[in-house]
């Protein structure tokens, strides 16, 4: 592993995009930043601007309106960027998969590097997904 890749993996900054979510996944993502799970020990921070982000966390079902916004965010992000789909809706569409306004799961819109299924995934599952991503 080169120096550049090492630095990148040691300091992943997260940007959180919630689609048409039921808010359960949002709450579980925020759980990871709280004292009990604390992802800052891996150098991860939640940032406010997509320009600073290294990881784009996407959760919730993506409907027609979210689609253009998600694409816009992905294009505005400085590369390299890692995309993580969180929750059943982000990975496959979940119970919204046959809905009228549903615009396809996340990997039909932008390339996805890691999937964390669950409805909602537990914080432990999100941490396990992150560790797998770090060891990839």
């Amino acid at each position: 592993m080169g120096f550049k890749e090492f630095c990148f993996k040691k300091s992943l900054w997260l940007f959180h995009f919630g689609g048409a979510s039921c808010n359960n996944c949002d709450i579980e993502i925020l759980d990871c930043l709280t004292p009990r799970y604390d992802v800052e020990r891996f150098g991860m921070l939640l940032v406010g601007s997509i320009r600073h982000a290294d990881v784009l966390l996407v959760n919730g079902s993506i409907n027609q309106r979210d689609k253009s916004r998600l694409l816009e965010l992905y294009e505005q992000a400085p590369k390299p960027i890692v995309v993580v789909a969180i929750g059943a809706c982000g990975c496959t569409g979940g119970i919204f998969a046959e809905g009228n306004t549903f615009a396809g799961p996340v990997d039909k819109i932008i390339p996805v590097d890691a999937y964390i299924p669950g409805c909602p995934p537990k914080p432990e599952a999100i941490l396990a997904g992150i560790v797998k991503l770090l060891n990839k």
Binding site: K4, E5, C7, K10, P35, R41, G43, V47, G48, R51
Partner: protein
């Protein structure tokens, strides 16, 4: 010439100040984590952040903005922070005596990073960045008067001496200024000025992360953002060092004194961190009012007290 270059680039200048500042920034994040019962980041986290931004990430230029100014602003910020760091650290570390009137020069040089943030933010063409820039401008207008009143109080305590080296040697002879009543008040006001200069939490409305998405920094990515991080690391070291030099007898790196000097810096940064962790963000109106009314009043009281020798 070679000696000057060494001063500016390696020893008290860019490299040394940046490394110490990065370690202090780790200390700040670790204390923050402990206050919130978390574990906190590893020791070299600021270096990982810096090298990731510098080497790995792509730089994106705004479409509707002035690209040259946008890219030049962070470089001028690093330049301003480094040059004021050299003028502060040379007398404090006892390498050179500096020149007469260097406090005034340092006072002007310390505003360069904030000014360049404003210029960079306004040239990016982003409405949120413009909002952050206007807030930073109001913040500068409010704390600069307080800062110059604090400096006036210190100059009066030192018997109208305007050289940092003379102020430090006076304190080494007669005891630190922070030991008197007016000194304690000046110390308090100075701490809040540093808090506003570094845009830490009670006064972080220019780069409010949750409110206007990091405001003045919103468009920066990649190498320019790494330069801004570097400026922040340097400022995080030189401002506490300036405070210690002016009010707490300077730093001494001979024998056992080195421990005492390190503890002084860690204590000042601990104060800044604890203030930042136990306060909410104030509105820009409240921040202006806080400085213009209350902090100026305290500084003037301290000047009057020091006139009577207290």
């Amino acid at each position: 010439m070679a000696e000057q270059l060494f001063y500016f680039i390696i020893f008290p200048g860019l490299l040394f100040a940046a490394v110490v500042g990065a370690l202090l920034s780790w200390y700040d994040r670790k204390i923050t984590a402990w206050v919130q019962f978390r574990k906190g980041p590893p020791l070299f986290q600021p270096f990982y952040d810096f090298f990731k931004l510098l080497l790995v990430k792509e730089t994106i230029l705004p479409k509707y903005g002035s690209k040259g100014v946008f890219l030049a602003a962070p470089i001028f910020a690093v330049f301003g922070a480094t040059i004021s760091g050299v003028f502060i650290l040379l007398p404090i570390l006892g390498i050179e005596t500096g020149f007469k009137g260097d406090i005034i020069v340092i006072f002007y040089l310390l505003t360069i990073p904030s000014l360049t943030y404003i210029i960079g933010a306004l040239s990016s063409g982003n409405p949120l960045a413009a909002l952050g820039g206007s807030r930073e401008m109001k913040l500068i207008l409010s704390y600069e008067l307080t800062f110059i009143l604090v400096l006036a109080g210190i100059i009066q305590k030192a018997g109208m001496s305007i050289s940092l080296n003379e102020i430090i040697s006076l304190q080494v002879l007669n005891g630190a200024f922070a030991g008197s009543i007016s000194g304690v008040i000046l110390f308090h006001v100075f701490i809040f000025c540093i808090q506003a200069k570094l845009a830490l939490v009670p006064f972080d409305s220019p780069e409010a992360e949750t409110e206007i998405s990091e405001g003045i920094m919103i468009e920066y990515s990649g190498t320019p953002y790494a330069m801004i991080k570097l400026t922040k690391y340097i400022m995080f070291f030189i401002l506490p060092a300036f405070l210690i030099g002016l009010l707490w007898g300077g730093l001494n790196f001979e024998g056992i004194n080195i421990l005492w000097s390190v503890l002084k810096i860690l204590f000042v940064v601990l104060l800044l961190t604890l203030i930042r962790n136990t306060n909410p963000r104030v509105k820009i109106k409240q921040a202006v009012r806080y400085f213009v009314v209350w902090m100026n009043l305290l500084a003037i009281i301290a000047i009057v007290l020091s006139y009577f020798g207290l």
